[in-house]
């Protein structure tokens, strides 16, 4: 579970980034990197691709931060929405490229070089991740953000609601629909 990102943090960081303060950019990265990483990982199902795309998101931030207009009414939400939008675009590009030039990721060898888990466990994890990411792609963007925020990043309903600019009731409804769709897609039944 990550600490909530406050409006105060964002309000001081974004203008510093726009002035070209590299320290501010790194602080912004530290704040959002894990969230973006989980989002990208959930959508690609590949850890290496998720790392690369997360880095790319923040490189785009450096390039375009001077065009970004901070919503002073809800600063952290506007920054989050901007970052997730960049990430979503990059993921879409990634999937498009994969469809055009299908390739086998060298990541498939990764489980066998890991020290922490035995190969069977790693293979199982990898398979689960692939199944989840495939099913998550079928959700709407709001449902995906709710699910990833809640279960990937351990955010509370209030945090997700603030991120999406929705009420907590709406987040609960989105969560319910998303889980129901995923159960149907993955054929999950109570154990």
């Amino acid at each position: 579970m990550y600490a909530a990102i406050t409006d105060t943090q964002v309000v001081s960081l974004i203008p510093a980034c726009q002035r070209g303060d590299s320290g501010a950019v790194e602080r912004l990265y530290d704040l959002y990197a894990d969230r973006i990483y989980h989002y990208v990982l959930a959508r690609t199902g590949e850890t290496q691709a998720a790392e690369d795309l997360t880095a790319e998101v923040f490189l785009r931030v450096v390039q375009h931060v001077h065009h970004f207009i901070l919503d002073t009414a809800r600063p952290s939400s506007s920054v989050s929405a901007w970052l997730y939008r960049i990430a979503a675009n990059l993921v879409a590009d990634y999937h498009r490229a994969r469809r055009r030039w299908p390739s086998v990721s060298i990541e498939e060898d990764a489980p066998f070089v890991s020290d922490s888990l035995d190969p069977c466990q790693l293979a199982e994890r990898h398979e689960t991740l692939e199944r989840l990411s495939g099913a998550l792609e079928k959700l709407t963007e709001d449902q995906r953000l709710v699910v990833i925020g809640k279960f990937g990043e351990g955010m509370s309903n209030a945090q997700v609601a603030a991120l999406l600019g929705k009420t907590e009731g709406a987040v609960e409804a989105l969560q319910h629909r998303a889980l129901r769709t995923l159960c149907r897609l993955l054929n999950v039944r109570a154990r």
């Binding site: 990265y29 990197a33 994890r125 039944r189 154990r191």
Partner: protein, 389 residues
């Protein structure tokens, strides 16, 4: 129970699990939804595996380094001059500007060098009217129009001398339009200036007549002679200070330009039916008794046959047939050879009242004849080719 309630129950169960309770313990409170809730909670637990993935520290370090480099590069770009900044905006803009300039120069060159018969000639004709629109004062504008008419005359001269090209209707239209405008403007000028302009118009009319006589194609000859006749009428108007000779303004299809010029590119293609008269005859002055001897144009074969007005598709109707002679029977009498316009014979005729364009004032010349089949009888407008002023 509706979806909203189930959503709330699911939310409560998830909160309880997050607080450390087991799924089974949560389901005890909602036995009627236990089955559905169980699968939803199982799905939620499976999704929890996403949270077990962490961005590696190596990846974080790599990204931080790349961010620092990107930020430094951006700072350099902002402070460096554009040619070193790597930005393509200025070079692209410059290239676009250069390309646009090249296109403009090329187009201007093509237009300026265009000759009658060329595609761009129509543009040249329009563009060259600019000085007339910008000229200061009525006299200046009249002279500018005359200058334009001279250019068109020179174009026609070149075309006819080359013997290879057909007559371009646009040149004739533009010439007549300029001559008519000059005559209209001249009508409001003092007599001395009017006389000068009328003399120049007459010169142009004579030049047109000469070109017509020298033309090889009979239809070209006819068109030029008709245009000459019209120019003589304009000269006459200028000399007398009459803004218009025709009390009934003609529509765009009635003017001599329309009938003397078949199309924008082609040479005029008059229908050589001696008995068929154009609308011009019908819109002629209602004072046929003022008719002067109508000029009989010398045709290239020297037969002295009166040229018929070229008919546009809009004006050629079978019922508009003209009697063989004008009411006073004078029409076929005069010839135009060597005859000047009214500027050279300004003596007023018996019925030379200013608003009446009766041609008696020019009875000694081949000037406009209200009752004659002259091409401009019904037209104060130069036709489609000369509407631009």
């Amino acid at each position: 129970m509706n979806d909203d309630e189930l959503s709330s129950i699911l939310g409560r169960c998830l909160d309880q699990i997050a607080a450390g309770e087991t799924a089974s313990a949560c389901l005890v409170g909602y036995p009627e939804h236990a089955a559905e809730l169980a699968s939803l909670l199982a799905m939620a637990c499976e999704l929890g595996t996403l949270g077990s993935y962490r961005l590696s520290e190596a990846a974080r370090q790599r990204t931080r380094t790349r961010l620092r480099q990107a930020e430094a590069a951006r700072r350099d770009r902002r402070t460096a001059p554009w040619w070193r900044s790597g930005s393509l905006v200025v070079p692209r803009a410059a290239a676009g500007l250069a390309a646009a300039l090249f296109c403009v120069i090329l187009t201007a060159g093509l237009v300026a060098a265009s000759q009658p018969g060329d595609l761009a000639y129509g543009v040249r004709v329009v563009v060259e009217r600019a000085p007339a629109l910008l000229a200061a004062g009525a006299a200046g504008r009249a002279r500018a129009e005359l200058g334009i008419a001279s250019r068109r005359l020179a174009d026609l001269d070149r075309t006819m001398s080359s013997q290879q090209q057909a007559l371009d209707g646009r040149a004739v239209s533009a010439l007549l339009a300029s001559a008519e405008t000059a005559a209209e403007i001249a009508a409001g000028l003092p007599e001395e200036e009017r006389g000068e302009i009328a003399a120049l118009l007459a010169e142009q009319a004579n030049a047109l007549a000469q070109l017509g006589r020298a033309a090889r194609q009979p239809k070209d000859a006819e068109a030029l002679l008709l245009a000459s006749e019209r120019a003589h009428r304009d000269a006459e108007r200028a000399s007398r200070g009459v803004p218009t000779l025709d009390p009934q303004p003609a529509g765009p299809h009635h003017g001599p330009a329309a009938s003397a010029t078949a199309g924008p590119h082609g040479s005029p293609a008059p229908e050589r039916t001696s008995s068929t008269r154009p609308r011009a005859t019908e819109t002629a002055s209602p004072t046929p008794t003022h008719a002067m001897p109508s000029p009989t144009r010398a045709t290239p074969d020297g037969a002295g046959r009166r040229p018929t007005t070229p008919q546009s598709p809009h004006t050629a109707t079978p019922e508009r047939r003209r009697p063989a002679a004008t009411p006073n029977g004078a029409s076929p009498a005069a010839t135009s050879s060597g005859a000047g316009p009214s500027a050279t014979s300004p003596g007023p005729g018996p019925s030379a009242t200013p608003p009446d364009p009766g041609p008696s004032a020019t009875s000694s010349g081949p000037g406009p004849n209200a009752a004659s089949p002259g091409p401009g009888q019904g037209a104060t407008s130069p036709g489609p080719g000369g509407q631009g002023h």
